[in-house]
Symmetry: C2
Subunit: 341 residues, 2 copies
């Protein structure tokens, strides 16, 4: 079984964006705020938006199941306040839930949180609870920078974040550390902000002792861990200088990297440097990079091809494709067991 | 000949830091500002600070010459105003000039600029001119984020920066794009901010058309290019999506990566993915990572070992060690020719 742990609903029907635009336009004028019930998307539309896009490519590529969350760049937690994000997260999560209901064998949900700059993470818990208890979601995306490129929140190791970690540990749910779009002109969203956030989050964890307080908390760092595996020697050396244990002991019980690295040499490095039990299959398809690589003739984000060609044993490949994902996402594992997998 | 294009004066005598501390302490009280002449460091002290540190390691490792600039993390352009940075840059550059005078065969200078957030880059030109004309410096460090982790300046492709580019082109001097310390708690300086800045600068250039306006401008992106080579497929795909030419045509006449990547798999990836003519030897020794790698028994930053072990021909190694550096830093090449190299 091949599980993609990193998919977003990037192909939602245009009515979703139209609703969001109305919500944003009404920011200064609450009376004009659209109601959630004003968004009308039928099941046929949902089905079509998936069947001709993600599902089509999954079948072509041989991917069985995708952990599916709202479009990352649309989370835009910097817009409006908690109420804005709360209404928006509820809508986006519900759509992913409906997709998972329409395609129960191929999609399972992960939640977006109603984050907002400066807001207490405890306020995000009701939405998380709803997604886990009512929707059966198995993961969550945690934005380490709800300001959208201004980095005004404390590091992920700060007690500020502890309320959400407590709930994640209680539910035994991992968080993918995933920023949203950048409203800082210095940072291109998918070409800089995403990768920078991955590197930043890892280094925050390296500098701190978060997993001493939360030994069972699990964080998935997407996009192959940003710059981290490429600079693994630097991080090993920095850990030593900061008098931390070896990275394997300090971080690798709790931090995992996905395989959203869009060329063979990158995946070769990732799978060589990072212990195989810390690598989770993912493609973020349909996402940041949608073209065909002229050097290979295949889609950049067809990451399964790189895993197939990497110097791995069949057993290691199986770990990356399935075993590790089921271990890191135990609620996914439980759902699959209930279905006889 | 082996040339390290990325060395900083991280081992300056303590009097330098003491002077800086007095300067910073006097920020609210200009009358207390120390004069440059109050900093007294003798030639013997300078000689000792180099001979027992950088020079010792250069001899051990077989490095002939280092392009030597003021300590990057001490630039701290966010502190004070232009006058503050101006006095500080003048002092730091003069010290590097004196080091190069004491060890003319082993060190040649690169300048720190008196950057300050929001200040017109034209104001930095007199210091650059002094360093080039009086000191014979061959390069310059350009900080893309003088705010120190808040990223309040426009992207490097913005016309804001053009006055300094015009001067660099006139002098035929490359800029190493190098941030200083981070005063944003989210970003560890050497573990996140440095690498993020490298990735960010590359993506800014990718998104823009800077080299159409400055076809001979050359930027060196340090630390192996941040996350860029590891994600080369992503960047190739993003260039296509942004309707830019192939990266080789769009950026690689103007952008170069150094080899400050502190483990073998990273250097293997760098030298496999990036054309050899775009890779410049460097170690940033003595810098961010000072320990001995327990996995190899050698210093993390002894990057020559990785180049020696990489799958390169002797001719390619010579390009990385010398040829490329002399091509990208023509004033260095001219100085070496004058000395018969």
């Amino acid at each position: 079984m091949i599980i993609d742990c990193h998919g977003h609903y990037t192909t939602a029907p245009p009515a979703l964006e139209a609703w969001r635009n109305r919500q944003v336009a009404a920011l200064g004028n609450p009376a004009a705020t659209p109601k959630a019930s004003e968004l009308k998307i039928g099941d046929d539309e949902l089905r079509e938006s998936i069947a001709s896009n993600q599902l089509k490519k999954m079948k072509e590529r041989g991917i069985d199941l995708t952990i599916f969350s709202p479009r990352a760049s649309f989370m835009a937690h910097h817009i409006g306040d908690f109420e804005t994000s709360s209404a928006w997260a509820a809508i986006c999560n519900e759509l992913c839930h409906r997709v998972a209901g329409l395609f129960p064998d191929e999609f399972i949900g992960a939640a977006m949180l109603p984050q907002s700059p400066g807001v207490d993470p405890a306020t995000w818990i009701p939405e998380l609870e709803r997604c886990v208890k009512e929707y059966g979601f198995v993961g969550v995306n945690l934005n380490p920078d709800p300001s959208g490129g201004h980095w005004t929140s404390p590091p992920l190791t700060d007690r500020h974040w502890y309320p959400i970690y407590e709930k994640l540990v209680e539910y035994d749910i991992p968080a993918m550390v995933h920023v949203s779009t950048s409203c800082n002109a210095c940072f291109h969203a998918t070409g800089a902000h995403y990768l920078n956030a991955d590197t930043t989050a890892f280094m925050q964890c390296l500098s701190g002792d978060l997993f001493r307080d939360f030994p069972t908390l699990r964080l998935v760092i997407p996009h192959g861990g940003g710059a981290v595996p490429y600079h693994w020697g630097r991080f090993r050396g920095l850990a030593e200088m900061l008098k931390k244990p070896l990275l394997r002991d300090h971080l690798l019980h709790n931090i995992f990297f996905d395989t959203c690295v869009y060329h063979q040499p990158g995946i070769d490095l990732l799978t060589k440097v990072i212990p195989v039990e810390n690598v989770l299959f993912a493609s973020e398809m349909i996402g940041a990079v949608r073209g065909i690589d002229p050097e290979t003739g295949f889609a950049y984000d067809d990451t399964k091809r790189y895993i197939e060609a990497a110097a791995l044993t069949p057993q290691q490949r199986k770990q990356i494709y399935e075993g590790n994902v089921r271990r890191v996402y135990p609620r996914l594992d439980a759902a699959l067991r209930r279905r006889g997998h």
